[in-house]
């Protein structure tokens, strides 16, 4: 028994309890709060350590060797922390909704925790899929649009994610076959890793497998051009689902690339054609989606598209593959998760109170709801990448990480990409500030009225904003958890 098993099981058990009739809000809040404490406890325990900790394995199949193996290193703990924080916030902010909101939030969160804290490829994959079902159902059933539209949106997301998962599965299977070595197939990540260290594959083959994994993981993370599910899905999804999926679950693809693809295929991402393809795709995310976001006329569109756009930076970190860049990518994953969850959470409240999110109908909300405005500003400026909030630390590490092997006068494709990507930072300021300006600045629009949330309703958002601030000012808090080289 490992504490991680408890962490994974708690939300799922709470969901079961609610289904069996336990009071939804109390049960889910209790479970997530305990979970947060547990994750913080593991973080403290892990502080300064390296390698996998809290490992425990329960074999479930001999050959191919599958086991329910848990274990966490810094990345897992950071993402688990992200999950529990967002989950607590998402659940806390649910207000006057049917029980299924709590259940699905718990399932999505529990699935994400499972994916981040297990070390067997089989379960990593499985838990992610588990979390996708409630996402799909919630968008289709409780999305914020006409039934026909939201169902179409849910389908689009599901088909993309489903096909992406299958491609991913193919890639994972390929990995397992290549790296299982001698006589037995194994899904154990550690075993595969040691095999990969002993007998690395030829670069050309690494590149092929990496590319398959990239497509699979990529479509889960809305890598351009497999992104068109994301924006409508987030814009339509019920608030907790939008928070949890865009904040947490989406990070799974990136986690997989960092955790599975890169260690096993260290040269895969650097073979020229793969790298160029990846760079083109992530530039698509940053530049094209940046422009698309600029074009957005509603807050939900802006946030949803920006969430797609920001993935490009994390991919940039993965493309660089240097230690600094990868750690930056992890920090940015954390940061983006918190900030986008914060924004989606606030957006949900706005939608409830105002009934519209169109910029040309909004204005001057800062006068009515100052606390709300401050919270939103945290999200906005975090998205923009303002120093002092976590996103900046991640982005700057990614950029720096791309320049660690810079030879004066010779720019590689990677470095040119960074420069183009930097322009995306400008674009994100453009659309976020435009949004902020249209919503909060100016004179209050007639007929729209919004008040600050009650203090108890503010707590989840304050918690997220505070996280952004604390880890933004002290990113070494996160870095210290990632002492082991990636």
């Amino acid at each position: 028994m490992s504490v991680l098993e408890l962490i994974i099981a708690l939300p799922l058990l709470a969901a079961l309890a609610i289904w069996l009739g336990a009071p939804a809000r109390a049960a889910s809040l209790a479970a997530t709060s305990i979970n947060l404490i547990l994750v913080l406890y593991t973080a403290v325990q892990y502080w300064g350590k390296t390698g996998l900790a809290f490992t425990y394995s329960r074999p479930i199949l001999e050959n191919p060797s599958l086991s329910f193996a848990v274990g966490a290193d810094g990345i897992s703990i950071i993402l688990a922390l992200l999950t529990t924080l967002v989950m607590l916030a998402a659940i806390w902010q649910i207000h006057d909704r049917p029980d299924i909101f709590y259940v699905s939030s718990l399932l999505i969160g529990g699935g994400a925790l499972g994916a981040f804290l297990t070390t067997d490829i089989f379960f990593i994959y499985a838990f992610h899929e588990l979390a996708l079902i409630p996402t799909f159902l919630m968008i289709a059933l409780h999305g914020r649009a006409e039934p026909a539209y939201r169902k179409a949106v849910a389908w689009k997301a599901t088909i993309y994610l489903g096909v992406g998962s299958l491609v991913l599965l193919a890639g994972l299977v390929w990995l397992v076959l290549e790296f299982s070595g001698g006589s037995k197939l194994t899904f154990d990540l550690e075993a595969l890793r040691s095999q990969a260290r002993l007998n690395p594959l030829p670069d050309a083959k690494q590149a092929q497998i990496f590319f398959v994994l990239l497509l699979g993981f990529g479509s889960l993370v809305s890598l351009f051009p497999f992104h068109s599910w994301a924006a409508p899905a987030y814009a339509t999804a019920p608030t907790p689902v939008a928070m949890l999926h865009s904040g947490v679950l989406k990070k799974f693809g990136l986690y997989g690339l960092i955790r599975i693809a890169l260690p096993l295929l260290p040269h895969g991402a650097h073979v020229e054609w793969v790298q160029n393809a990846l760079l083109l795709m992530l530039l698509g995310n940053i530049l094209i989606m940046g422009l698309v976001t600029i074009h957005a006329k509603r807050l939900d569109d802006t946030l949803a598209n920006s969430s797609v756009m920001h993935m490009g930076y994390i991919f940039l970190g993965i493309a660089a593959g240097t230690e600094i860049a990868l750690k930056g990518a992890v920090i940015l994953m954390f940061a983006h998760g918190i900030s986008i969850a914060l924004l989606f959470g606030l957006l949900g409240r706005m939608r409830n109170q105002l009934g519209t999110l169109e910029y040309n109908k909004l204005g001057g909300l800062a006068s009515h709801a100052p606390a709300f405005t401050v919270l939103f500003a945290f999200g906005t400026f975090a998205s923009i990448g303002l120093p002092g909030l976590t996103n900046f630390a991640g982005e700057v590490l990614i950029f720096l990480g791309n320049f660690t092997d810079f030879k004066a006068g010779v720019m590689t494709n990677l470095q040119w990409t960074v420069i183009l990507a930097l322009w995306g930072v400008v674009m994100s300021a453009v659309y976020m500030l435009r949004a902020y300006r249209s919503i909060f600045h100016g004179s209050p629009a007639t007929g729209l009225f919004m008040i600050d949330p009650a203090l108890s309703q503010r707590v989840p958002f304050i918690m997220l904003a505070a996280t952004l601030l604390v880890t933004g000012c002290c990113p070494w808090l996160l870095l210290n958890l990632m002492k082991s080289a990636l």
Partner: protein
Amino acid sequence: MSVFTIEAGLALLGLALLLLEAFKPDISRRTLGLTAIAGTTLALVLFIFAPHDTASLPGFIQPWHQLDSLAIFYKGFALVITILVLWLTLECAPYLTRFTVDGKLAEMFSLPLIVCAGMMWMASARDLVTVFVSLELVTVSFYVLVAFARKSAFSLEAGVKYLILGALSTGVLVYGIAWIYGATGTMSFDGIAKALANPATSKTTALFGAAVLLCGLGFKVAAAPFHMWVPDVYQGAPTPVTAFLSVGSKAAGFVVLTRALDAFMVEGSIIGSEIQALLLVIGSLTALLGSLPAMFQASVKRLLAYSSISHAGYLLLALACRESARFDLSSGGVVAFYLATYLPMTVLGFLGLGLMRANGLGEDIKDFTGLAKRNPLLALLMTISFASLAGLPLTAGFLGKLFVFLGLADHGYWGALSCAVIAAAAGFYYYFKTILAMYTTEGTDVPALTFSVPAKAVAGALALVILILGVYPKPLQKVLTSDRPAVVAK
């Protein structure tokens, strides 16, 4: 008590029940059904404790029957599905009787026992004659069962279609047997394998025989392009019979197919590689032809029929991937594993359908609307069943698919793997369409559904099996770990 005695006893019990009904017409169907269930359960218990080796069989049967792990597994499988089908028949009786003559169901309880015995014999057959006679016993029984609710136009139509196409396939099968016999001079699988490993055997003749034989067997397992009877017959047949067909009959077909392929693809076989290629083509085609039309089905029962075709495709692909040295679940094992996982999820699906019919509902997707509100438990169980059919991780269905994919990738059959992946992706769509309907709340304010405690218990148990196998497949693997000699196509 030898396994054969149990099987014979089962068949005799079927006969006895028939006689009972004939001479005591006023016997309640409940008694009949429970007797049948009790008998089959007893058989299952006895079977579990019976000696599991060929030597324990009566001497006269030993040339024709074998008891390897595959046979043991399938026999158990057949008994379990029979119990479930009998029980399902009892559950569905209220509406089934509306379509049967005089509201009688007696044969619905006795014939499955005979079918079960037939399937068990098929499972251990060592030669084509045994295969033929036990297969025909099963088929003819199914002719009757499919058309049993003959007052329903659908059931009757299904019966006619199954009859004509089934007889056609029997013809093809016998013709294939004839040619295989012609090519090899023998009808026992061992002999065929030996002859095929001998380069002097005429390759063309053997190929022709094998191809025709596989066409005949392909019909039984719903392999494309011999699958087109499946949707119509599954949809038209009474739901318990459909479950029986789609699980029991198909499983039996796959056993025979496994045995035939073991012979055809024996090491050094002159036709091994062609047969393997054929399996890949047919398997891919089956997976696709099952999945693609399923996306447009309005009837869940028909949808499940298409899904069963698609699953047959994966199973065929699994058969195409002969043993991998790195893989304990050799191809027969993967097939067995897949079927073992396929049993609870399919039966659970049909069970749900049957329960809905028993509550006076239809079988269309729209009838599932709001099920989560009307009966949350049933909705959850159906969700588990469909999720597993779709191959969602942490359910049993995923592991089966995973092993198939592993096998295909291990051999580098990328084309077939792509087809399988496309089919699985389409599968996501249609299963989730149904799941979505269940949780849709808008629409009519419909009354709650109720169903009996045993129904809950059985359905819950099936769902639990799906979930447990999904996360803890080790025990099943132990059962299946093959003691059969490795056969590798070269």
